[in-house]
Amino acid sequence: MLKIEGLKKSYAGNDILKGISINVNKGDVISIIGPSGSGKTTLLRTITTLEEANGGHISFAGVDNDFQKLNGKDIHTIRRNIGFVFQNYNLFNNKTALQNITEGLIVARKVKKSEAEKIALKALERVGLTDRQNHYPSQLSGGQQQRVGIARAIALNPQVIFFDEPTSALDPELVGEVLKVMQDLANSGTTMVVVTHQMNFARDVSNRVIFMADGYIVEQGSPKKIFENPSEERTKTFLTDILANV
């Protein structure tokens, strides 16, 4: 469904992504793990063209083109079909929880306001925040904000949702509620690509784990394989280090 080949990205002479190829199938829940600075977040941001790629090819939602040749329409199509959940939530500060969700529907998708509100309420119900619909982001806790962020992404019914370290900015006691919502989504068949440091989530919820380091995909496979029997030394070291701290 989403196929990326040879994706490259560099910042001021530093290569962040050194030729990444990924294949996301419908219904996949892919966790991307790896040390800080390995390019996980950049990967999601380059695919959605929030960052400009320096090379590579994308085929997704009818777009089949090199990253550097994408035109405005291609970019719009790609973004339209990918939901994005940000590390810092990035809810629209001047809109209520409900308006955060209806905004994209009304303005970008031209859905009627009453219809959009119905969809938004349904999305809020899925993340358990119906009673917070008229709250502004500043009146919500981090966990609630992130759940609204997720509701905003699912309401647009994208083909795949990208999660960029959705729990990293949260206080430890709020992580659970967000992971729970994500788990429910995964169980309902939503296609998800999740950059995460939550090893439990990667192990228990995803059907494929990608381990990235230094701008490369070091290895990928089922959670069972990666966590119990990694073939690469880098993966072993990383997992030993990180699991020792859990």
Partner: protein, 264 residues
């Protein structure tokens, strides 16, 4: 020393005809310079070639020269310039138009900087979020970024407006019949300068105070989304009370959490 109160009342009655003139100068300057200020700020933020250089130069030029010098230059340059184009009719033009020009040019420079700093306070994640829900950059700017920037800008716009009101008193140099000019003329007839100036003083105080209240209310109205949900005991700076609407206490956050969020 005693004040001639009868004279003060008389000046107050005459000078009131200057109030609309002052207000007109302020409103015209503000209404024209607000949109242009936004435009210029955007030119600087998006570093649009050539235009950016022009805006930078313009802002330094205006900010680097005293307003009185600008008034004198406009008032001496424009009429003779127009004279060569439209002939003698140039000298029949109501001098208030020159005041509009000077104060608009001046406000544009101030407001450009006000909007530039305000737009930069909005996190760039807001634009990214807009793009990722499928909105175009322009839609995201007007619906998400600009309303937030406007709120950050309001205190500074208020400040600029108060300066504008006070500076407009210099319009008398261009023989515009504003509050100051009328009072000065009255004073010159009777040599009661202090009384006349006190009246001027009070008029400006009242106008500025009204402007302050208007901006205060605008700020309250527009910042409803970041108003703390708990009723705070913050002092009310209004000398006489405008009833504060009750704020509903609806929050899931502790006080410290809310402060943290507010800082984010």
């Amino acid at each position: 020393m005693s004040l001639d109160t009868d004279f003060m009342v008389k000046v107050a009655y005459t000078a009131i005809h200057g109030v609309p003139v002052t207000l007109k100068i302020v409103l015209v300057a503000l209404l024209i310079s607000l949109p242009i200020g936004v435009l210029f700020a955007l030119i600087r933020i998006y570093r649009i070639k050539v235009l950016e250089q022009f805006v930078k130069f313009y802002v330094s030029l205006i900010r680097g020269t005293p307003i009185i010098a600008q008034i004198l230059i406009v008032y001496s340059a424009f009429p003779s310039l127009l004279n060569t184009i439209i002939g003698k009719a140039a000298f029949d033009i109501n001098p208030i138009y020159y005041a509009y020009i000077v104060f608009t040019l001046n406000s544009i420079a101030t407001l450009t900087e006000v909007f530039r700093s305000a737009l930069q306070t909005v996190d760039k994640g807001q634009m990214e979020a807009g793009l990722m829900v499928g909105m175009k950059p322009r839609q995201t700017f007007w619906r998400i970024i600009f309303p937030q920037a406007l709120i950050s800008a309001l205190p500074n716009i208020a400040n600029a407006t108060l300066y504008l009101i006070k500076n407009s008193s210099l319009a008398f140099i261009m023989s515009v019949k504003d509050i100051t000019a009328i009072a000065k003329t009255e004073a010159a007839f009777n040599y009661n300068f202090l009384e006349a100036y006190l009246v001027v003083w009070v008029y400006y105080l009242i106008i500025c105070y009204c402007a302050e209240v208007i901006f205060y209310l605008l700020e309250r109205y527009f910042s409803k989304y970041r108003r703390p949900t708990k009723k705070t005991t913050g002092f009310n700076w209004l000398p006489f009370s405008i009833k504060q609407p009750e704020i509903e206490a609806k929050t899931d956050l502790t006080e410290s959490e809310r402060t943290n969020h507010a800082q984010n």
